[in-house]
Symmetry: C2
Subunit: 428 residues, 2 copies
């Protein structure tokens, strides 16, 4: 097979530019590995007149990504625009309808429309590949879908938002609070245009929903992900956790339970000495557990031009080599709509609340926990100078439902200053 594989690239931001660079600079290596040349025939972006540091003169220009997606001289539509709907979705649909394969880095689009797009692609005999959508340069989609295809996957975990991990590890390292480090991350350009995508856990939740679908054969269901962001984590939480030998991470966990598929993306306490606990800065980590393979841990850069373009090129090379695989590892028509059970697995919890300095306040809280069947492993009240006392509680294993019942009762008490914080202590 020596026919060139012809790419049409929509979106020339960091990642798109990175892909153009690789295709231009490594033509010979890529051709040797793929057994055929990889070429670019056309590109599209919002702004044409912008110096991107690469020569685009050899390629046809399309203002409209939908027009790009339909071009006769494009074999693979490379979607690097982003956004769950709008032009990205329209152009992806047009590409599939026009008989093109699709490579995309768009987690939001796939988390919301992945099932419908996979059905359409498979009906048209086309593939959608999305390695770059999850955990940047780490080839985790490939490991899960292909490398571990002989396993029943038992659990998938991941730290998949580098910005959140940057903020949390910097809080630990510098002793600065959340707000100061949010500002720092913003100045460094680490935050999405809508920062809630990062710190609210949405971006990482999109990624988890994609991994869940492959791992458990379920239709991708982002709405089934129980999402909590890192906005309420204080420096005190970080310090208390460290005192007990833990780190706080925005951790995604997906597992199949007797009650359904459990998908959670939330700040959790994990042992400081575990691989996840030791993960610093913007690096991503994904843990894959299967009945045969036990546990595989993958670690690498979660973002950036090179790593993300590397993932896009991995998909392009697979297509060039003639590898065709169902979007989520099995035909989309066979994926089940899975019941969602976001709080099925019991866990120990870390609770932090501020109690008014009144006699009996702590007793009232303890009573409500006891009534909900939650026993307390440790409780500590800190010294304080003002009218409220910070109280820290670590529970024994409990169901989230029981905890929510207790927290509802505790909120109704007249002894609480501010909302209590409850963080799961995850076994990793």
């Amino acid at each position: 097979m020596t026919t060139p594989l012809r790419l049409g690239i929509a979106g020339l931001g960091t990642v798109g530019t990175g892909v153009v660079r690789i295709v231009r600079q490594k033509a010979e290596t890529l051709a040797a590995r793929a057994g055929r040349p990889i070429t670019i025939t056309a590109v599209s972006a919002r702004t044409r007149d912008k110096d991107r540091g690469v020569n685009l003169g050899d390629y046809a220009w399309e203002d409209d990504p939908v027009a790009l997606a339909k071009r006769d001289d494009v074999d693979v539509f490379v979607e690097l625009m982003g956004g769950s709907d709008g032009p990205a979705k329209a152009a992806t649909e047009a590409a599939i309808a026009a008989g093109k394969d699709v490579v995309t880095a768009n987690k939001a689009m796939l988390a919301h429309h992945g099932h419908a797009l996979a059905l359409a692609a498979e009906e048209a005999g086309r593939v959608i590949r999305f390695e770059a959508a999850v955990a940047g340069g780490i080839p985790v989609i490939k490991a899960l879908t292909e490398g571990l295809a002989g396993n029943d996957i038992t659990r998938v975990m991941g730290v998949m938002n580098g910005t959140c991990n940057y903020i949390l590890t910097r809080m630990q390292a510098t002793g600065q609070g959340y707000n100061a480090l949010f500002e720092e991350a913003d100045k460094l350009g680490y935050l999405e245009a809508d920062p809630n995508l990062d710190v609210g856990g949405i971006d990482a939740g999109h990624k988890l929903a994609l991994l869940s679908s492959i791992a458990f054969g379920c239709q991708v269901d982002f709405d089934g992900v129980a999402l909590e962001g890192i906005q309420d984590i204080t420096l005190d939480d970080i310090r208390h956790a460290a005192d007990m030998g833990y780190r706080i991470k925005l951790l995604g966990v997906a597992q199949m339970t007797g009650r359904g598929l459990e998908q959670r993306m939330s700040p959790c306490l994990v042992p400081a000495k575990s691989p996840i606990g030791q993960l610093e800065g913007g690096t991503n980590m994904v843990v894959l557990e299967g009945d045969q393979v036990e546990q595989i841990v993958l670690r690498g850069p979660g973002a950036g031009m090179g790593p993300t373009a590397s993932a896009v090129m991995g998909d392009v090379m697979d297509i060039a080599r003639g590898f065709r695989i169902s979007t989520f590892g099995q035909p989309a028509a066979m994926l089940k709509p899975c019941a969602q059970a976001s709080s099925a697995t019991p866990a120990r919890y870390y609770l932090r609340m501020s109690l008014d300095d009144k006699p009996g306040a702590l007793a009232k809280v303890a009573t409500l926990l006891g009534e909900a069947g939650i026993s307390i492993d440790r409780m500590r009240q800190y010294r304080h100078d003002d009218a409220t006392a910070p109280v820290l509680i670590v529970t024994h294993k409990t169901n989230r439902d029981a905890l929510d019942t207790a927290l509802t009762g505790i909120r109704r008490l007249d002894v609480l200053a501010g909302d209590p914080v409850a963080l799961r202590i995850e076994t990793v």
Copy 2:
């Protein structure tokens, strides 16, 4: 494509039995993922009458693996016998000649004959897959060959012999010496029939040679791997290293240098806090570095029934899904015979020697190092009660050639009790 993919399995030890189990127990899942059933038609092993805990009654039996490899009802020959030559090689060659694809876990066979086998397979239009040959359950061949196909690989490193890592980390944890822990590993069944394959670094060297070939487009060249085993590591080395913030690991490193391909498998000092330094027990870790992806770290079980069978099944599933790729990532005919330069990259070294307690002994050693252009970062002579004094030296960066010159001179001095030990301090 709904024709079943028919396996013939040669070798029914732990891994072979594990593969049979997966194929029997997960028929439905595998068929859904592959788009076609995976079946076993025939098996072969040295002993027929042995309870392996799985029902083999449905499969044809062949005493001779070569006969198995040639059967008309076998599509994929699964070679799990082991051994670089003999029946494994004969049967693999027969399978290729008979037009079968091959899946193997046989690192020794591929390290010695991989290039010839790859040429033969590609001439016959067949594939050889060997995920299980390197780092057990970790899908590292896949990550390197496919996921990172858009990269120029700059360095590959790995701790890929679980037995050695077990012995070294147990020395650190228990304070027992090498010999005691070698015995312990033997009792636990962790050692190969020829233990030198493990502790001599040969098994891990085979794996490194396979990774090098893919990473750098070179013909696999096991003889080019500079091999050192862990047999001379003492408890003192482990302790000295720990005092300085290091751990000792049997570490493989491959990188392309201006002088040629550098391939080393030897005990090295690595920072205790690095991912490799923190790796405990029988777990494996591979670090892949590329110009685009920066650094990917993969960690998982390096051996055992489930993990190794998982890797075999990953390859089987790829073949079932119609994925066909050159053995070492590009056509074997395009792989270059690369010049070998096992000691091209300079490094700091840890030296340990026992000097006779005579005036001027240390001065003579220091002089010889100086004459070879090696400057000393730290030197320490320990308190001692007998006639020889243990001396520990950490050098500044030096070439291995210069170090060897100095060591040759030092060995000629009349002040040395026993052979000096030199361990590279690796930047990881």
